[in-house]
Structure formats: C-alpha cells, structure tokens
C-alpha cells in the first residue's frame, strides 16, 4: 500500500495532478518518470523523509511497492 506522503512527494516532483499508484507500478510507467528524471524523484524522497538510501538498495527496487517497503524499514513512522 502506497502512503499518501510518498504519493504526494512523487506527484509534486513530477508535476502531476494525480496518478493511481499501485504496489506493482513500475517507475517508468508513471508519466514524466524516466531515466533523466529518476534521480530527481529519489532526491525528493530522501529529502522528504530525511533518509539516505544506498546504491544497492535503490538498484534492487523493482516497483513503487518495493520503494514503500524500503522507506518503511528506514522510517517506520510512515508505515
């Protein structure tokens, strides 16, 4: 389940009004989220939650659901 906080952060960064995020949604299916904007989204999430992800953690993410799980492990109050 994708939290409202994560959804809002992604939507703000990509300047989207709304998007139906599901656990299995792949980043590149979200309008505007491509290889050039990928790090902007990651940096925005790190700033929002005050966390830092390792490169390996980020490379192992398969979808938005995995990103939410990773945030939950680093930042339990969001889960």
């Amino acid at each position: 389940m994708i939290s409202e906080r994560l959804k809002k952060t992604i939507l703000m960064e990509l300047q989207l009004k709304d998007f139906n995020f599901k656990d299995e949604t792949h980043a590149y299916l979200v309008p505007g989220w491509d290889s050039l904007t990928h790090i902007n989204v990651i940096l925005a999430i790190e700033k929002e939650y005050g966390v830092r992800f390792t490169t390996t953690e980020l490379l192992r993410l398969k979808n938005i659901g995995d990103l939410q799980v990773l945030i939950n492990t680093k930042c339990p109050e969001d889960s």
Partner: protein, 477 residues
C-alpha cells in the same frame, strides 16, 4: 551462416521440422545443438568462449543466490563481470589498445614496430556477453532466481536467432519460455512468417541496395560535395536501420514461429522528435540494457551531483555505448556525440512545455513533421561519424557540408531518386504503423491490399534485391 541465404533457409526448415516432432525437453536440447552448429560453421573454436561465459555465469549466479552474506554475493558478481569483460576486452579491444599505444610511444620518440599479435574478433561476442552478464546482475539484484538447468541456461545464451546480433533478450523474459513447454500457435506462426519476410525485404531490397550508394562514397577521397554528403547520410540512415531492424525482425520472427516471444528491438526510430525519444525506439534491447545496468547505477551513485551527475552518467554510458559498437575512435566520438545531445536535451527539456504547439490540426502536423525532420538531420550527422573510415574523413565531409554545396551537380539527383526508389515502401509501412500504433498493422489490412503488398515486395525482392547475400552490418560489433 547468414539469415539471408538459402543455406540458412534449409537449416531452419530442418530445425523447425525436428522442433515440431520432439517433446519439450528434447526441443531445448535440439535447439542448443542447432545453435552450436549455427555458430560453429563460422568458427567452432570460438564456441569455447561462449561456453566459458555460460559456465561462469551459471556457477556465479547459483553461488550469489545461495550466499547470505552480501560480501560473498558481491565477490561472485565481480568474478562474473571480470571474466566476461576480460574475454570481451581481450578479443575486441586488444588490437585497438596496442595500435594506440604504439602510436603514442612513437609520438614520444620511442619507436616500436609490429607485428603485434592480431586477434580475430569472435562474431557476436558483444551481444552474448551482455546477455549472459544481465542474468548474473538480475540474480544479484533479486530480480530473478537462477535456473539449476545448465543446458537450458546455455540455450538462453546461445539461442541461434539472437546469438549473433541480438536482440539482447533478458533472462527473466526468455528463460521462463525455455523452461516451460511452449504451445504451437498458428497466429504467432503467421506473425513470425510476416516478420521474417519483412526482415528479409528490409535487408535484401532496401539495405543492400542502399549499400551500393553508400559504400563507394565512403571509400572515395575528398574533396566532398556537401549535397552528396547530405544525401549519402540519408541513404546510410535508412541502410543501417533496415539492415539492423531487418536482422532483428528475422530473429524475432524465427523465435515466434517456434513459440518464443521476444521484445521489439526497433519502434519507428525516425519518428523521434528528441534524443531521449530516439533511444526509446532505436536498438531498444541495447538501450534498455545500458539504462538498467550502466546508466542507472552510475546516476544513482552520483545523484548528489544533481544535474552534473546525470550529465556524467550520460556521457560515460554513451561513450561506452560507442566503444561497444567497435574498437575505433569514430565510434567513441559518435558515442560522445549521442551523450552530448542528450545532455543538451536534458538542459532544454524544462523549457519545452513553454513552447506551445499550434492549435490548428494541419499546423500541428506540420509542426510535428518539422520536429521529426530536424531531429532526423541530427541523427544523420551522428551516423556520418559512425560510418566514416576515420575522423579525418569526417572533417572533410563537414568541410564539404559547410563550404562546398552544389545541388545541381551530376549524380546528386541520381542518389536522391535511388534513395526514394528503395525506401518508399518502408515509409508507407511505417506511416501505417505510426498511424495505427500497431507494428503488425500490415497483417490487419484488407486481404486484397495485403495480397498486393506481398506481390509488390516479392517482385522487388526477386527482380531488384541484392543477390550476393551480404553480411549484416551489426555482425562486426
């Protein structure tokens, strides 16, 4: 064995008949043997290199999956990458490195004369190396579990339709199709036959005929007429596209006939309006490989550099992409050019939404065509660098483009009409595909129109098709 020869047609017919007769397990074993024969006809000794890569990645992936300790996982990943890149580096880049070292030392007055060991380039090495590496990387990233069946994994790497020049299919897509029994599907078989037919047409009629315009020009000496340079760059743009997309269509079609689904490798690349769009449409299996296994790790690790990190990752990725194509400075410069136009595009991208397109439908179409044509010329310029014999030739051609443009010169109109006579049918098919957003649009045409299409293609192929069975350009990579 080339796809565009009768020898291959006979080979595939035998393989296909055996395939239909055998049960699933023996289909896979037979396809592996057929793949070894297909490759071994060029040079059976290089089969040892393929099996060295297969064995390394098979074992490393199992060890990565079994290990609980992150350091052990990383160690086996490094072993796999080191073995694969060492083989690729030695066989593909050793000559290039030694030649450049010799020139550098000579420049400083240290005279070294050959002969150096001239190493033969094993065909398809760049393709199967990326394929086998992606498997281990996916297992390391927990994207898939490794298979225990060595022979099925070997078939994934050596599968003959994709062995020489891709598409670089991912293990998570192709391996499950190898492991599970496949059902013969008449619709898939028909689509496969169409792709083979269209691929052969692209190669034998379009690409090989355009090669007769392109090759003599690049073999000629300067000075160059700018208008000829421009027209030949168009000819080469269509030649390389039809050569490689033709190969990919045949490879995908062969797979489809046997029940294998493979990712599309091209999606109307000359309809792109910007470099990011182009790389989503051109050699998709390579561009997504580079994105997932090179660009993304680089950009993620350098994300605190912000835009500079993206620029750095793009430049490194595309310079290596150029070098992957061949061990020559022209490929490196072409890669840097592609990286640079992507960096520039990234810089201007935020401004683009502010340029509002015309509201009128006709003006909107003209606006779109203008963007397509503008970007097509940017691609053509890159392809001049890609095809040139040396950077000196590139500079001579630029000089011709800048200061020696004569449109009424003899030969120019001949080249133009030559290009049109070979590409008109491609343009019609692609406009249809673009309009319907369907790569199989031809198969959905009215049966009478389809019959005319097949007759025209067959006539052009038989009467005007190049008969020499020339090698596909991407075989050298």
């Amino acid at each position: 064995m080339l796809f565009n020869t009768l020898q291959f047609a006979l080979f595939f017919l035998i393989v296909f008949l055996l395939y239909l007769l055998l049960p699933h397990k023996w289909q896979n074993r037979m396809l592996l043997v057929a793949s070894c024969i297909f490759y071994g006809i060029w040079d059976w000794r290089f089969l040892t290199l393929i099996f060295a890569s297969i064995t390394t990645d098979y074992l490393c992936s199992l060890k990565i999956h079994e290990a609980n300790d992150e350091r052990i996982k990383k160690r086996y990943l490094i072993v796999s990458i080191a073995v694969n890149l060492s083989i690729l580096g030695f066989f593909k880049y050793c000559n290039f490195f030694l030649d450049n070292l010799q020139q550098l030392l000579n420049h400083f007055g240290i005279m070294i004369h050959g002969p150096f060991l001239r190493i033969a380039l094993p065909i398809g090495i760049s393709f199967y190396t990326l394929k086998t590496m992606s498997y281990t990387l996916d297992v390391y990233r927990n994207e898939m579990k490794p298979t225990k069946s060595f022979w099925d994994y070997a078939l994934y790497v050596a599968f003959f339709p994709q062995l020489i020049a891709g598409p670089i299919a991912r293990a998570k897509d192709l391996l499950p199709q190898i492991l599970a029994p496949r059902k013969f599907n008449l619709e898939s078989f028909y689509e496969g036959c169409y792709l083979i037919f269209w691929g052969v047409f692209q190669k034998v009629f379009i690409a090989d005929n355009l090669a007769r315009i392109v090759n003599p020009f690049f073999a000629s000496q300067p000075p160059y007429n700018g208008s000829t340079v421009l027209l030949v760059s168009y000819a080469f743009a269509f030649q390389i596209y039809c050569d490689f997309a033709g190969y990919s269509n045949i490879a995908i079609g062969l797979g489809k006939c046997m029940g294998f689904e493979t990712m599309a490798n091209f999606n109307l690349p000359y309809f792109s309006t910007n470099p990011a769009d182009f790389w989503r449409r051109w050699h998709i299996s390579l561009s997504t490989w580079l994105r997932d296994y090179l660009y993304t790790p680089l950009v993620v690790s350098k994300r605190y550099w912000k835009k500079w990190g993206v620029a750095f990752a793009l430049m490194v990725t595309f310079i290596l992409c150029g070098l992957w194509h061949g061990a020559a400075w022209t490929f490196v410069v072409w890669g840097a050019y592609q990286g640079a136009i992507l960096v520039i595009f990234m810089g201007i991208q935020p401004l683009l939404p502010k340029i509002s397109p015309p509201k009128n439908m006709l003006l909107e179409t003209i606006w779109f065509l203008g963007k397509v044509l503008f970007f097509f010329h940017i691609i053509c310029f890159g392809l001049l660098i890609f095809r040139a014999q040396s950077m000196i030739q590139v500079f001579s051609m630029i000089q011709g483009l800048v200061s020696n443009v004569k449109f009424n010169q003899a030969g120019t109109s001949g080249i133009f009409s030559g290009i049109i006579s070979f590409v008109w049918i491609l343009i019609l098919v692609e406009l249809l595909q673009f309009k319907t957003k369907d790569s199989m649009a031809v198969l959905k045409l009215h049966p009478a129109i389809r019959a005319i299409f097949y007759c025209v293609c067959l006539f052009l192929l038989l009467v005007y098709g190049a008969t020499e069975g020339s090698v596909f350009i991407y075989f050298q990579f």
